[in-house]
């Protein structure tokens, strides 16, 4: 079943060029889908449209069968988004922020306590949850953002450069969580510049250049015996 389906999505910022130009792709349940491209290629623009932050006119984006345009609430209830540089409420403590997100998703007391404890332990941040977020390092903020994204057990996890700022242990934990979610039938869609990570983690990849998907498919189809780096440079420079 398609957890995320993008059909002919285009976005213009008013200039001559399109930031996203007829982007189409499909993320199935159980997929870890990598979205690769240079800086300014249109990755974040596409991701922000998927999660309902950015308005768009052309094309259609469906999440779990619901349209982002016409049924945004249904889509958001099953989606979680972690931006590359999360802006959290700095004057809340970590636990206050997590409770806020859990309240918005209407998660019961027992479930939220269990999930927060589980993920906070996994990311080794339990001790810091009582401190103000303003006192956190970038990586700690990223961990809180990740926990808040997982609190409602999303069907679709959308991440923009998720490994930036994470320590090696946390990066490993996140990868494990991604696999675990997919085993339970969810899907993960994330952008990255780190091709090694994408190669090891993803089963599907799309490459975007100047707003257009230049190639997409399973990792095997794309690499065809080469490394992802070689395959990427080949299609990107073609």
């Amino acid at each position: 079943m398609a957890m995320l389906e993008i059909s002919n999505y285009s976005k213009s910022y008013g200039g001559d060029k399109l930031a996203a130009d007829s982007v189409s792709l499909k993320v199935e349940s159980g997929d870890i889908y990598g979205f690769i491209g240079h800086n300014g290629a249109g990755k974040s623009t596409t991701i922000r449209a998927i999660v309902g932050v950015l308005d768009f006119t052309d094309g259609e984006i469906l999440i779990d069968g619901h349209s982002v345009k016409t049924e945004p609430m249904e889509c958001k209830k099953v989606t979680a988004y972690i931006p590359d540089n999360p802006d959290l409420y700095e004057n809340l403590t970590g636990i206050q922020f997590l409770n806020f997100v859990a309240d918005v998703f209407q998660i019961g007391d027992a479930e939220r306590s269990e999930r927060i404890a589980h993920y906070a332990n996994a990311f080794e941040i339990t001790d810091a949850l009582g401190d103000l977020i303003s006192s956190y390092s970038h990586g700690m903020k990223q961990k809180v953002a990740i926990i808040s994204a997982l609190i409602h057990e999303p069907k679709l996890l959308v991440l923009d450069e998720p490994f930036v700022g994470l320590d090696p242990k946390a990066a490993f934990t996140l990868k494990e969580i991604m696999h675990d979610l997919c085993r339970k039938g969810a899907a993960v869609f994330f952008s990255t510049h780190v091709l090694d990570v994408a190669e090891k983690l993803c089963n599907k990849v799309a490459i975007i250049k100047q707003g257009k998907i230049i190639t997409s498919g399973t990792m095997e189809e794309l690499t065809a015996g080469k490394s992802l780096e070689e395959a990427f440079l080949e299609v990107y420079d073609a």
Binding site: G15, A19, R48, D87, Y89, E90
Partner: protein
């Protein structure tokens, strides 16, 4: 349900109580307590002012005008302050992406941001309403049930003007989102609306003048009565208080609630659309490398400050309004006689305009000096503070750049205003030069004193830039001291000017402000040399 969760979190995330509870930095804690004390003092001052105004009305048997005056004061203040800051609250907030990705309706987010803005400003309006209620109660001795009605309606009173201002803010954002220079278009539209409001005050004033009333207090009395007739919510409030009119009471409540629902249904429908347009920028990607020119470090910092200001509508409107007003006044002064301007500004109070001459630089300074970019710009560095911190420049150079930018803004507008008024008043060359020099020193004082406040009360962990541009401790301390000092000096200038040679008096003011500016500059040097400060 979502409304309450989000509103509670918004309040908690900006509440200093939360910081006080969880922060471990003792210095920060004592700064927060200092802020609390400062704000309480401000509340008391505002309440005292309003109460004594009621006493004046009571003593001249005009106490019936107080409910209308209370309604108008709250409505006007809430409208003007909302129009200035609504953009920052509704559209330019940092956590937009995070909130929009959560299952919250766009209408809910916008309405919560509005409710947050309302709750944050309510204590100020409540201070006005309660002190006027006490003043009114003392003289009018109304029935006991008038007090709860007054309190209830006073809480509702700011809603309609705030909603109207929010709608204008939304409209301006929608219009400007179609332009490349969005901030500039939005700033111009907001400034035009504020200028229109100022103009409206004189228009109403003119209507009363046709009634040929004489005394200043009576003027205000009739002006209030006439404006209350024109502005229905104020009329409903007045009728509910004076005549215990339940229909008026109900109308005020129902219309406020209905307007809230309508405004946020409209805003919600295109909230994401406007934010998408405002937060994204078309990139031409056409730059060709050309020869680059070097600048002095202080000019580079000043240029950075200019780009910071023009990049934010909230900052531009707050910092720029006074300059626009004084330039307009300078130009208008060339076509309107000085005594007519003074008559307008003083509601026609009977005195010789020449008496005001020694205070001209301070009157002009009242327009340009009440906001200084140096007071908020250190805090506005926010998360980007690391950039200037990591550069190989001395901190004094950084603040010299900020002060230079402030002077580049204030000195030319002060010169235009001063010259316009001096020409209009036919003031001699020597006095004009003196006023220009005093003006320059006042601008220097504004830049240096602003910098002292900005560095001393620097706050980098803000959620929304409105918090440091309009509500920050640095800006409040700067404004309060500057306002009272300027009022006192202007009054002194008029008083001493009647008995002393103007040239000597001007030289004294020059000396005083040169000394104050020098002291403030030295204070900035000391503050920036402290290891943990700035």
């Amino acid at each position: 349900m979502h409304n309450l969760i989000l509103l509670r979190t918004l309040l908690l995330s900006t509440s200093q109580r939360n910081q006080l509870k969880y922060c471990t930095d003792k210095k920060k804690k004592s700064r927060i307590i200092g802020n609390y004390i400062g704000i309480i003092v401000l509340f008391f001052m505002l309440m005292a002012y309003c109460f004594f105004m009621c006493i004046g009305y009571g003593m001249y048997q005009m106490i019936d005008a107080v409910p209308g005056l209370c309604a108008l004061t709250i409505s006007l203040l809430s409208f003007v302050f909302t129009i200035i800051k609504v953009n920052g609250y509704l559209f330019q907030f940092k956590e937009y992406d995070m909130l929009m990705a959560l299952p919250l309706k766009e209408k809910t987010i916008a309405a919560c941001k509005f409710a947050y803005m309302y709750i944050k400003s309510l204590p100020w309006y409540a201070s006005i309403a309660l002190s006027m209620m006490v003043g009114y109660g003392y003289f009018a001795k109304p029935a006991f049930y008038i007090y709860p009605i007054w309190v209830m309606l006073a809480l509702v009173l700011p809603l309609i003007p705030m909603l109207v201002a929010t709608f204008f803010g939304f409209l301006f954002a929608k219009i400007s989102s179609g332009f490349r220079k969005r901030n500039l278009v939005q700033t111009i539209l907001i400034m035009l609306l504020v200028l229109f409001c100022f103009g409206l005050r004189f228009f109403i004033d003119n209507m009363i003048r046709n009634d040929a009333v004489e005394s200043t207090l009576q003027d205000t009395y009739y002006m209030t009565a006439k404006t209350v007739e024109l502005y229905l919510p104020a009329k409903w409030f007045e009728k509910a208080i004076l005549q215990t009119d339940l229909v008026s009471l109900t109308l005020l409540l129902v219309i406020s609630v209905c307007l809230f629902a309508i405004v946020f249904a409209i805003i919600g429908s295109s909230y994401r659309n406007i934010n998408s347009a405002l937060k994204s920028h078309a990139a031409a990607r056409k730059y060709r490398m050309t020869g680059q020119k070097s600048k002095k470090v202080v000019w580079t910092i000043a240029f950075k400050e200019l780009k910071r200001m023009t990049g934010s509508t909230t900052y531009l409107v707050n910092a720029g309004l006074g300059y626009v007003l004084i330039i307009l006044l300078g130009v208008i002064a060339l076509f309107v006689r000085f005594d007519e301007i003074i008559a307008l500004l003083t509601n026609g109070a009977p005195f010789d305009p020449k008496v005001v001459y020694p205070s001209i630089p301070f009157i002009i300074y009242f327009f340009i000096g009440m906001v200084s970019t140096t007071a908020c710009s250190p805090s506005l560095e926010g998360k980007n503070y690391w950039i200037v911190q990591s550069l190989p420049i001395e901190k004094k150079t950084l603040y010299q750049g900020k002060m230079l930018f402030q002077l580049c803004l204030s000195v030319p507008s002060m010169a235009i205003g001063t010259l316009g008024i001096c020409i209009s008043a036919r003031i001699g060359i020597v006095d004009t030069i003196c006023y220009l020099l005093i003006g320059c020193l006042l601008c220097l004082f504004s830049a240096t004193w602003g910098c002292v406040c900005g560095v001393k009360h620097m706050r980098l962990d803000w959620e929304n830039e409105v918090e440091v541009i309009k509500q920050g401790a640095a800006v409040s301390v700067y404004l309060l001291v500057n306002m009272f000092l300027t009022m006192a000096v202007a009054a002194l200038a008029i008083f001493i000017g009647m008995q002393m040679d103007h040239l000597l008096l001007n030289l004294i003011w020059m000396g005083v402000y040169a000394l104050l500016s020098g002291l403030c500059y030295l204070r900035v040097r000391v503050l920036t040399q402290r290891p943990k400060m700035a």
